[in-house]
């Protein structure tokens, strides 16, 4: 069985954002593999290590620098990678059809997508590509087993969790708790340079465009309370009641 795992190259959590003329600018060097996608890569690689899959293919949509995210996925254990290359900022729905096509093209029966993307703050890609593929979706997955051609999982719902089962092919979106992702070790990063990575040009229209972007900064009081614990505590309690009026 072939497993595909989608990875996104997003601004690092520590990256500086600049809003210049209504666009968010990030230094090209401040990007990294989206933390949410790590759970998917880890899940796919573990299934391969358990002998339940033959190959893990990492897929990405983005500009040339997104290759770095694919190299990280290869260092984490993926066997090969495909970059659908475009400089356009595509919303998740616009990405869904090309991603679905790439998934079908590599012959995968299971696709992992990160539960939420750290640039769009969006949870839409997983469901959208599942729809484009016509496959069922297990979202916000916290436990996953492969049993006789079926995915048996536990996933989050609005007030708790629920058991979920469906036969392959299936799309799974990930979240914290699904597994503990490994680090890409330096030897594996060096080996990953030699694994195959295909680049294919992509041109699709966006379904949502950004008209304006800003970085609002919320002014906080920034009050520092000093003194021994008892003094600080009584002043804090008083201020919360009288100044902030939250008690």
């Amino acid at each position: 069985m072939i497993i595909a795992t989608y990875v996104k190259h997003v601004p690092d959590a520590e990256a500086r954002l600049d809003a210049a003329g209504g666009r968010i600018e990030v230094d090209d060097h401040a990007y990294a593999l989206d933390g949410m996608d790590e759970y998917g890569v880890e899940a796919a690689v573990r299934l391969k290590e358990a002998g339940l899959a033959d190959e893990v293919v990492a897929l990405a949509i983005g500009p040339a620098r997104a290759e770095a995210a694919l190299r990280t996925a290869l260092a984490l254990g993926a066997d090969r990678a495909v970059l659908l290359e475009t400089d356009d900022e595509l919303d998740p729905l616009a990405q869904a059809a090309p991603l679905a096509e790439a998934t079908r093209a590599c012959g995968a029966e299971l696709l992992f997508v990160g539960g939420k993307q750290a640039d769009w703050d969006s949870a839409a890609l997983g469901p959208a590509v599942a729809e484009a593929l016509g496959w069922p979706l297990c979202d916000w997955t916290t436990e996953l087993r492969l049993e006789a051609g079926e995915v048996a999982a536990v996933h989050d719902v609005d007030d708790g969790s629920e058991d979920w089962r469906a036969p392959l092919p299936v799309v799974v979106t990930t979240q914290q708790g699904l597994n503990e992702p490994r680090y890409p070790t330096l030897p594996n990063i060096m080996k990953a340079k030699r694994k195959p990575l295909d680049r294919r040009p992509l041109a699709v229209p966006a379904r949502v465009v950004t008209l304006d972007a800003a970085l609002p900064s919320r002014a906080r009081r920034g009050v520092r309370l000093e003194g021994d614990a008892a003094t600080v505590a009584s002043e804090l309690a008083r201020r919360l009641r009288d100044e902030a009026k939250v008690l």
């Binding site: 990294a32 990280t72 260092a75 680090y183 330096l186 030897p187 990063i189 340079k193």
Partner: protein, 383 residues
């Protein structure tokens, strides 16, 4: 001239930066307050490949050069100086000497364990009365049936009592000065090998440092490295690599201190504005940044020369001198930028200063570096 690091190295640097931020930085302050040898993080560093950077892949290392070594060690040090010290010692003398001078059996026996971080290495040269004047060491290795008996004491040994493998320099021929020194590899459990209590140092508390005692410790022939009398020359030839590592460590500490000071100067307000707007602070930050950049360029150039097999003794000493003195300057200036908070253990800069202070003292004091540089200058001028 392309000053940019190669892309491949940048990928490794980012991976180590991320790892250090997640695994090493969060434990640094706690280990400074309640010191213990950081076995758990060292194990993870071993899995990452960070404890065998220079050792060839055939022995389980990364087989990378000194430029990579310097870049990666700087990342570790920026997260925590103590982890960088332990890493640079185990990466350094033990592995480089066993690799360069060990027999095939000796290389197979120790290199894979050290490179993987399954064993931590220590280097025992310094003695209570022999620091800068290392050749004056007194630890004795007497020839006996099948090996040697070692007697003496070593001082200021990083990872003392915690390391698994100890590279010990001892005199096989007390009459022959430096040429009477031989190198031996001992496992921690060797009878007669014992360790003092951890030294109470100013900083880098988790880099447990102890004295090491040898009381009639038996070392078999197959644990002597190279020929008798070659020990000192072996160690001296490996000095440059170790010094590049310490230069990189000093840069990492300086970088962390500078980043904290720059952030603070942006946030802290006095007289209605962020303090970075005052020239007193702005000039300080400019000086700090300039010295770090200068030291980094020296360090990277020295590493680059070593990677090309070129003589780099002067350049390495310049790098170590510049980086360590820059680190002390930058950390002290960072405390000043923080004002009263710089003196408080609730903020990291006082720890950076305490950690940085030893960088001008070990791996050759600043005075020794100046001796080396002046001698090299003299040799160049004498031609």
């Amino acid at each position: 001239m392309d000053f940019a690091l190669p892309d491949d190295l940048v990928a490794l640097q980012h991976a180590v930066r991320d790892f250090a931020r997640r695994e090493i930085a969060p434990v640094a302050a706690g280990l400074d307050r309640e010191p213990r040898f950081p076995r758990a993080t060292l194990r993870k560093m071993g899995e990452m490949g960070l404890l065998g950077i220079l050792t060839p892949e055939a022995y389980g290392g990364l087989g990378l050069g000194y430029l990579a070594y310097a870049v990666l060690l700087e990342e570790i040090a920026a997260a925590d100086a103590a982890h960088a010290t332990i890493a640079s010692v185990t990466n350094g003398m033990p592995q480089s000497l066993i690799l360069a001078h060990g027999s095939s059996a000796q290389r197979d026996r120790w290199l894979p364990r050290l490179a993987a971080g399954e064993a931590i290495g220590a280097f025992c040269l310094t003695e209570p009365h022999a620091g800068s004047d290392a050749a004056a060491l007194r630890t004795r290795a007497r020839r006996v049936e099948g090996g040697y008996r070692l007697d003496g004491s070593k001082a200021w040994i990083t990872s003392g009592g915690e390391a698994d493998v100890y590279l010990v320099l001892a005199k096989t021929d007390p009459e022959a000065g430096a040429r009477g020194i031989s190198a031996f590899v001992l496992e921690r459990e060797t009878p007669g090998l014992s360790f003092g209590a951890p030294e109470r140092k100013l900083g880098q508390h988790a880099a447990i440092t102890t004295s090491v005692r040898l009381d009639d410790a038996f070392v078999p022939d197959d644990q002597r490295l190279g020929e008798e009398g070659q020990g000192f020359a072996m160690a001296m030839s490996a000095l440059d690599g170790g010094r590049v590592g310490i230069a990189a460590q000093a840069l990492g500490i300086a970088r962390a201190a500078f980043a904290a000071a720059a952030r603070h100067a942006d946030e802290r307000e006095a007289f209605g504005r962020p303090i970075r707007e005052f020239q007193g602070i702005g000039f300080k930050l400019a000086d700090m940044a300039t010295r770090i950049e200068a030291a980094r360029l020296l360090t990277q150039r020295a590493a680059w020369l070593l990677d090309r097999g070129r003589r780099a003794t002067k350049e390495v000493s310049m790098a170590k001198l510049a980086a360590s003195e820059a680190a002390v300057f930058v950390c002290d200036a960072a405390v000043q930028v923080f004002g009263g908070y710089g003196y408080s253990a609730d903020y990291p800069v006082e720890r950076y200063l305490r950690d940085a202070r030893v960088t001008t003292l070990y791996e050759g004091t600043s005075e020794i570096q100046r001796v080396v540089i002046s001698r090299q200058i003299h040799r160049e001028n004498a031609r």
